[in-house]
Symmetry: C2
Subunit: 384 residues, 2 copies
C-alpha cells in the first residue's frame, strides 16, 4: 500500500515503555519521531510544520492487481505560522500528546473521549482548542495517516457494533470465548480486535457467513445455521464498523476462511459489500488492513424474484435516490470491470424494485436459512 | 397492573402444543381465545369485532404506590363491518395467525419479518394487506395489549442492543455464559430474555452498574470496574431496548440487585432514567414487566461541575429544545413530587449547560471509574 513512510522512532524523549506490547512501543516511537521532526525543523530556524497525506478522492487510487482502494502520495503542509493552519497544527499536537498518554497508561478511549481530553480554553484567550467533535475526528484521521498507524493502534475505539457466534474459540484479553456456546446473545465484536487483544484459538469453521442486520443474524442463530454448516456467523448492524471489518479480514487472511455475505438486494447492500471487499475512499489509507478483495456476495440477487418465485410482497420500489446510487455504484471500477456485477445492477434497475433478506420470510420462516443459503452455497452461486 | 383480562384459553381448534413451553401454551390459548370470541360473535349474528385497549396519554395513569406508569381501562372497538376499521381488523387477524405459526414452530421473528409475512395483495383486488412497516408495528402492539402478552411472548424480537459483563453466570438457551470471562467484547444482550430463554446461574455481584453508551461501558470494562466493585456492568446503546430493560428488571426482582445508572447530565439522560424507572407512555401496558421503580441515578449530577471541579471543557450549552425537554420532564409526577429531582433539574437549567459522562476524561482517563463512581457509591450519593 502506498502508505506514507512513518517517521523513525527516536531514542530519547519518552518515558520507559519496556513493559508495553511491541505494537505500542512502535507507535510511541512514531509519535516521538513526529514531534522530534517538528522540533528539529524549529531548532534549525525553519518554520515548524507537519505534512499530512491527502484523504481526498483525487488522491485515492484503485489498485486493480491487489483489488483494493489505496491512498496516493499527495500531501499537504500544515505549518504553525499560518493563520489558516495554526489551529489545526495545535490540534494535531494536542491529540498526539493525548494518544501518547493513552498508550503509556495502557488504556484506550473513544473518539468523543479524546475530543474532551483536548478540549479547553487556551490560557489568556477566549479561544477553545476544539469546539465540536466534528473538528476533532478528522485530526485523528490525519494522525493515523501521518503516522501510518491504525486508529486502533492509537488506542482509540469507536462504538462496539456487531455480534459473532460459530465454530471457533477466540481469546479476548486472555478470556477464552467459546463462540459455539454463546446462546442467543452472541459475543459482542469489540472495536479493537488487533492480535494483541484478540487471538484465534481452535477453529473448525470452514467459512464466515456475514449478514447485514442483527435481526437476520437472530434467524440464522436460532436455526443453528453455523452448527449445521460448520461456519462462523457475524453481523455488523448495517454498515459494519472497523472492528467488525478488521476481524473479518483477519479471519480471512490468518485462517483462510472465505467471507460470504448475505445482504439486501439494493444499492445500500451493494455498497456495504463494496466497502467490505475494496475499502472506502475515506479510509483508503488502511484498505490493506481492512479490505477483503475475495469476499463473496451470495445474495439477495436481483434474479431471485423469478428464480425463487418470491411473490410480489417482497418488492419495494426503487426510489429516485436508489436509482442514482445504483448508477454511481455501477461506475466503481471493480463493478464496472466485472460483467457479472454489471448484469446484477442492470437487473436491479430493470426490476425497478429492491428486496430485503427479511422479505424471504414470505416463503417460510426459515426458508432463507434452510433452503436459500444452503442451495446457493452448494452451487457456489455467488458474485465476487 | 390494570391490564385487560386476556380471553380464556380454548380447548379446541389448535394444533397439539404438548411439547411447547408452558409460556407458549398459554399464549396460544390466548390467541385461540381471541379468534373464538370473534367466531362466536359472528355465529350468534353479531358483527365480528375485537376490542383494543387504548395506548394513549389519557389512558395512562401514574400509580404512585407501585411507582410505575399503568394503562387504564379504556378500549376501542374494531369492528369488521366498518370502512374505518375493516382493514385494521383484517391486519390484526393476519398478525395473530402469523404469531400462532411462529409459536407452534418454536421460532421467533423480527418486527420487519412479521410485516413481510403478512404483506400481500388481497386476491382479486389491488389492495395490499400492509403497505409499510409503520402500519404493521402498531397492530402488533394492539395484539400485545389485547392478549395481555409481551411482544417477547408473541415470539417477536427487536434489534439486539446492549452488552453485559460481570460477576454472574447466565444460561442462554442452554449455553453457560460466564460473564466474568467475556473479554473486551462482552455478551450481547438478546432481544428476548424471558426466563425460558435466559436463566440466572451463580451470581456474586451485589449490584448492576448501567451506563448509557458502549464507549463508556468500554472504559469501565477496560478498568475491570465490575471485578473491583463486584457488580454487573451493562449498557443499552443509548435508550435501552426492551430486552435490556427486561433483563435489568429481572436482575432487580429475582436477584434483588440494585440497578445504579450512570447517564449524561442532560434531559436525554434524565429521560432514559425515567423510562428505566417508571416505564414509558407507549409501553405503559407492560410497565409491570419492564419498569424498575427503585432504580438509582448516580450521575452525572448538575452539582458535579463545582463539586468535582470539572473545568469549562465539560460544558455544552443547553439548546432551546433541551430547556423545553427539561421542563417537560420536570413535570412528570415522579420527578415533580420528588424535591431532590426538582432541585436537580433546576440546577441543570440554572447551570445552562449539560455534561456527558465522557467529558470526565478531562480529569484523567480513568477518573470516572476510579474516583467519581466509587466515591459516590461509598457515600450512597444518588437520586432515586
Amino acid at each position: 500500500m502506498a502508505r506514507k513512510p512513518a517517521p523513525k522512532p527516536a531514542a530519547t524523549g519518552t518515558k520507559p515503555v519496556g513493559k508495553l506490547p511491541d505494537r505500542d512501543v512502535k507507535t510511541i516511537g512514531k509519535l516521538v519521531g513526529l514531534s522530534d521532526m517538528v522540533a528539529k525543523r524549529s531548532m534549525s530556524g525553519k518554520d515548524p510544520l507537519i505534512q499530512i497525506p491527502l484523504r481526498t478522492k483525487s488522491n485515492t487510487n484503485w489498485n486493480k492487481k491487489k483489488g483494493i482502494l489505496e491512498m496516493g502520495d499527495a500531501t499537504a503542509d500544515r505549518p504553525l505560522f499560518d493563520l489558516k493552519t495554526a489551529k489545526q497544527f495545535m490540534q494535531t499536537m494536542l491529540h498526539a500528546s493525548t494518544i501518547k498518554d493513552l498508550i503509556e497508561e495502557g488504556k484506550t478511549s473513544s473518539l468523543r473521549g479524546v475530543f474532551y481530553k483536548a478540549k479547553h480554553t487556551v490560557a489568556g484567550t477566549k479561544e477553545n482548542t476544539f469546539d465540536t467533535q466534528d473538528e476533532s475526528d478528522p485530526i485523528l484521521e490525519d494522525l493515523e495517516v501521518s503516522l501510518g498507524a491504525l486508529r486502533e493502534e492509537l488506542h482509540i475505539f469507536a462504538e462496539n457494533r456487531g455480534t459473532l457466534v460459530g465454530n471457533i474459540t477466540l481469546v479476548d484479553k486472555g478470556d477464552e470465548i467459546n463462540a459455539r456456546r454463546m446462546g442467543s446473545g452472541g459475543w459482542g465484536i469489540p472495536s479493537i480486535v488487533e492480535p494483541d487483544v484478540i487471538r484465534f484459538g481452535k477453529c473448525e469453521a470452514k467459512f464466515v457467513l456475514h449478514v447485514e442486520k442483527g435481526t437476520v443474524w437472530n434467524r440464522f442463530n436460532e436455526d443453528r445455521f453455523w452448527e449445521k454448516h460448520n461456519c462462523i456467523l457475524t453481523h455488523g448492524a448495517g454498515q459494519p464498523p472497523r472492528g467488525c471489518r478488521r476481524l473479518l479480514q483477519r479471519l480471512n487472511q490468518e485462517l483462510k476462511l472465505p467471507i460470504i455475505c448475505v445482504l439486501d438486494c439494493d444499492p445500500w447492500g451493494h455498497y456495504i459489500y463494496s466497502v467490505i471487499k475494496q475499502g472506502s475512499i475515506s479510509l483508503a489509507f488502511e484498505s490493506s488492513r481492512l479490505a477483503i478483495p475475495e469476499a463473496k456476495f451470495l445474495g439477495i440477487r436481483a434474479k431471485d424474484y423469478d428464480e425463487c418465485d418470491l411473490g410480489d410482497a417482497v418488492k419495494i420500489d426503487l426510489t429516485e435516490n436508489d436509482i442514482k446510487r445504483a448508477n454511481e455504484i455501477a461506475a466503481y471500477p471493480w463493478f464496472a470491470e466485472n460483467r457479472h456485477w454489471r448484469k446484477e445492477i442492470e437487473l436491479l434497475l430493470k426490476n425497478g424494485f429492491k428486496m430485503e433478506v427479511e422479505a424471504m420470510i414470505n416463503k417460510g420462516i426459515s426458508y432463507v436459512t434452510e433452503e436459500y443459503v444452503p442451495e446457493r452455497l452448494k452451487a457456489k452461486d455467488w458474485l465476487e
